[in-house]
Amino acid sequence: MVFENYIWEVLERNKIRVVTNSMDWGLAIQVLNESAQVHYPHMLRADKSFYQKSEPFSAPGAGNTVNLPSDCYKVELVEVAVARGGAARKIDLIEFQDVNLNDYATGATNTPIYRVDKSTFDIFPASSGTIHYLRTIPYVTDIAKEMTDPGVGAEPPIHWLFEESWVTYACKLLKQQHYRLSENPSTVSQQLQGFEEAMEAVKNTADPMQIYASELPQKA
């Protein structure tokens, strides 16, 4: 189901009508995204296959550095089409080492190595292949985005089994937000309330300037 339906559900279940529609909408998007991040580790642990993704990469140039996909959370496997026992094979992951100075592999085609950094990985010798990784979930603002249903190639961020708890937790967050605004209003919201009252007063009087004049700061 698309994101817009969940925004509707959060607003409908919270029935917040004290603020403007646009503010409701933005808050709903925010709490749904917050709830998604809270659920991500649960969803990942429950069904990793839902978040498994793979992407081909081509042989890197000088420096042997390849950019990780932008939605990469964790690299699971780098596979290169190197003949060894007749099979495409996994290559070894090493940590904190210059892959170009590998004493063990010495650059042999059959024994490549790679190292994963923050947003790139180094591979030696340079090879083409496939990177298997776990995708992360983005901050969603597109209301037409498919959010939960697998099987349509849409890469939904939310595992369908967690749909109810995800949207219910978002409702809970929005209710908390509502309490903060209504029961413990900030200086800003107090001033906004005052501004609304002033606007009402302007509309209800035949001589609005008189109202304003009385509220203007006076010289000492």
Binding site: R89, G151, L161
Partner: protein, 224 residues
């Protein structure tokens, strides 16, 4: 039971609450949909056969539209003989491809899911150890079982006569769960907040039971 029948039942159960009128049909349908899925998670553990389907797929095919969860069983036919397929995670691919003790062949194939599609090994990147030649084609016509997702009941695109696809004996549980969820709209702010919290906890608990229970049920079927 259909979408309209569910809605009518829930409204009947709520009729003593004067504020029922504030609940829109859409919202009731949404709660019913949540309830159906929560009950699905609970009953699939105790009676998984009622929630299982099979599909025949080839390497690279997308998950079926009603895909819920792999049901722990799949086979591939080699020379008229059915060979069971193991379900693996992507980090196990290399092990199945390269370990001499665990080399995937057409007689011992594996399936994994990536990009929301099925992938099988051996694949054309591998060499058949029996012939020394690369596999000419990927596995196809693989039959596997899965637990299907219950039908969606929310939204104007779903007709009132849409059946939820759930067994008859689950209806009472669905209505009770839906009414409980509706209560969050019928109470004052503080109680409603507590009800939301309760709904959230129960949903997470249903998930926990599902994931713990389904694993143990599948283990039993392996043992059989």
């Amino acid at each position: 039971m259909t979408k309209a029948q569910h809605r009518e039942k829930v409204i009947n159960l709520l009729k003593y609450f004067p504020t029922t009128i504030k609940l829109s049909d859409d919202l009731i349908d949404r709660y019913v949909e949540h309830a159906v899925r929560r009950v699905w998670r609970q009953f699939v553990v105790s009676d998984e056969a009622d929630f299982r389907k099979s599909v025949t797929v080839a390497h690279g095919d997308p998950l079926p539209a009603d895909w819920g969860w792999f049901a722990g069983s799949a086979y591939y036919t080699v020379s008229g003989e059915k060979k069971p397929i193991t379900f693996i995670q992507t980090q196990e691919i290399s092990h199945r491809k390269t370990s001499k003790m665990n080399l995937a062949t057409a007689n011992r194939p594996s399936v994994y899911i990536t990009n929301q599609t099925f992938k099988f090994i051996p694949d054309t990147t591998m060499t058949n150890p029996a012939t020394g030649l690369a596999y000419a084609a990927n596995l196809s016509s693989v039959t596997l079982w899965y637990y299907f997702r219950p039908t969606s009941l929310f939204g104007s695109a779903v007709a009132d006569n849409t059946d939820d696809g759930m067994p008859e004996y689950t209806q009472g549980f669905i209505h009770r769960a839906a009414v409980e969820m509706c209560m969050e709209q019928l109470q004052d702010d503080q109680q409603a907040y507590q009800q939301i919290d309760k709904n959230f906890s129960e949903s997470m608990q249903a998930n926990a039971k599902f994931f713990a229970g389904i694993t143990s049920e599948q283990m039993k079927s392996y043992i059989r």
